[in-house]
Symmetry: C2
Subunit: 398 residues, 2 copies
């Protein structure tokens, strides 16, 4: 697998990003991405929220999710909690994009991200779609990635080439994140393109597995979004086919995994106001306990503020563990921070506080938690909680 720095999309894809006036009229806020290959296959995943945005509801009900040819995305407005008028607006957005690129509406996926509860200015969106359709280019990836940002400090992209039996295939992906990011599936917008040829079933299988290992393993603020959408599209234009249960499927899956994990980590690193990244690894005998402890640690306001402050306050790790496992006291929990054992079988372990303080002042801090038993293990990446998160979310309507 080779990393690429190009903004040229895999064969068969074109994209554009424009400012349509949802934001300030200058900042890009509408992205359009089209696959020109009629045999495109695809798969998608959406937020599990009970209050899904109109575009998510529309995609689930009115898209051919195995044959998505185009995606149209706006930022600055989530079109969520907008009721039936919001669904009409999402359908209007889908129809306008379909007309602009000459496709059937059901082959166009729609996504919106931004403030919740405000009607979508659909006239501006329609004009933006026409403008974007006129600007579609095979090197339009950077513009597209820029247009889907909300509070993201930087655009998130990744592009790789994978050598398969039949030749090389390309894989590109663009994501946005920043806030309302929580493990629990699909916690953001992410669009992935490949020129490999594969069935929609293979698309779905590979996307399902790799999303679980990437976007489900990160948390910024423990808040599941209304709008999370991940779409994988394969144009087949490389001429390289990926068949089920082959070495090629495995290699392509590994590349997809690597790309999505990289983007997921970028989301954490660019969590709203984030300064440091925490990685918690939990091991034990009960898979459910291992998972809930990892989430409890990653979402603890006390752990996150300690991470922000560079404070080796491991007592808060113990507290977060105990909180999620009622009825187990006294729990023989082990805690290791950056390789330094600080708590063994529930009791403090003498250690050099200065060395530990230096270790937790680094950009990434690893916490290992040991529960009773063996055989289950999980990890979660999480951002810290600092003044900039408070400022961003208290002073601006995001």
């Amino acid at each position: 697998m080779t990393e690429l720095t190009t903004t040229r999309l895999p064969r068969g894809f074109r994209a554009a990003g424009v400012a349509c006036g949802i934001k300030d009229g200058r900042t890009p806020d509408l992205g359009l991405l089209v696959c020109d290959a009629p045999a495109t296959t695809s798969a998608a995943r959406f937020t599990r929220s009970g209050t899904q945005s109109a575009p998510v509801l529309l995609c689930r009900e009115r898209c051919d999710l195995g044959g998505i040819r185009a995606v149209v995305v706006n930022s600055g407005n989530a079109n969520a909690a907008t009721g039936l008028p919001g669904l009409d607006d999402a359908a209007e957005m889908q129809g306008a994009a379909a007309r602009a690129v000459g496709l059937e509406p059901e082959s166009v996926a729609v996504a919106s991200t931004g403030v919740i509860g405000v009607p979508l200015p659909v006239d501006r969106v329609r004009a933006g779609i026409e403008s974007a359709a006129a600007q579609l280019r095979d090197d339009g990836e950077a513009d597209f990635a820029d247009a889907i940002r909300t509070t993201d400090a930087f655009p998130k992209r990744a592009s790789v080439e994978v050598s398969l039996r039949g030749g090389p295939v390309r894989l590109s992906a663009q994501a946005k994140g920043a806030g309302m990011i929580s493990p629990g599936f699909a916690t953001l917008l992410c669009f992935v393109q490949s020129d490999a040829a594969m069935s929609a079933e293979t698309c779905d299988l590979l996307l399902g597995v790799t999303v679980k290992r990437s976007f489900e393993r990160v948390s910024v603020d423990g808040q599941l979004s209304t709008s999370d959408t991940v779409v994988l599209q394969c144009s087949g234009e490389s001429g390289v086919a990926i068949d089920p249960e082959t070495e090629d499927e495995l290699r392509f899956g590994e590349a997809l995994d690597s790309v999505l994990r990289r983007l997921a980590l970028q989301l954490v690193r660019d969590g709203e106001g984030a300064r440091r990244v925490g990685r918690v690894v939990v091991r034990g005998g009960d898979p459910e306990a291992v998972e809930s402890v990892a989430r409890s640690v990653a979402n603890s306001a006390l752990v996150k503020t300690a991470l922000y402050g560079g404070d080796p306050n491991w007592g808060r790790i113990v507290q977060a563990v105990g909180m999620t496992l009622p009825g187990t006291a006294p729990l023989p929990v082990d805690v290791t921070i950056e390789g330094v054992s600080v708590c063994s079988r529930g009791a403090a372990v003498p250690h050099d506080p200065a060395a530990l303080a230096a270790a937790v002042a680094r950009e990434e801090v690893e916490y290992e938690v040991g529960l009773p038993g063996e055989g289950a293990e999980t990890e979660l990446f999480f951002s810290d909680l600092g003044h900039d998160y408070v400022s961003l979310n208290a002073e601006y309507t995001t």
Copy 2:
């Protein structure tokens, strides 16, 4: 029920608070409270955490919880995650208090609050106990309440008189809170005294019911503590007996309820760095959904920062609701803020944004959430999330 401003404890009780040197040597950090009546009855509740502090484990295993005569409490060190040596220290603290006031160890409850994972300086505690025992006074309540504080900005006390059939009885309570406060039973330290006479069973019944309606309905940071302890002691020294299933039991229960709810609200108001208090009321047909939605809203970092910023960002309420009810989309949720309907059946309702902005800038903000169905209702009080919470928890080891 009459509120009292006195710091004189109910008949039969004496208390003291001293500085024993766990903190800086000047700040009070050890409290002792004793009931001189041999017929004292009592009840207690403890944190559900799996990583309970040594004092909690000790109380559960080595106290006669229906006959607690004395409580000894230190602040500045939680004696949690301290293993077997921590248990020995807690037992030593219990024994020293028992000797100092001439009681059996099993009638002395122990509580510790402060930093987790640091050995308790038990020699200082022992000396502090002797000093406190020499200073026990029937008007020592303020000193005791002061000594149990950690990051609390102000001491939390309440004192009332209730007129019963057989005459007046007194009820006093002292609490500490600030951080690691979450609904889910017993989320703090709270000590309650009365000179009413009642069985230990009645104590237990009344304490169980009123704790559910007070400390279980508040959240500062969604973090369940290792150390939560609530103790109710009744000296019987008023000569007024409270029998089961009587009008007097009801009236006393109401007074206890009122006192504990007032202290619980003080905890929220004094949540670490808190500026505003939110009250979320959730109604619907499914009691479990109603409870989980209330917790999701109260613990959302996005809702809490909006409350801090005085931002009427009701989209975050909708998001928090949807997050906790996966598989229900599109959920017809209603949201009302300070009486203004902003979302009806999942769709935005036009309203005056200036009036709403003014309403959410008040000291207390009420959010009402309507889910489908009828018959279930709950409420939660929560503090906001602001810069002072970050500073307190990032810059200090608390």
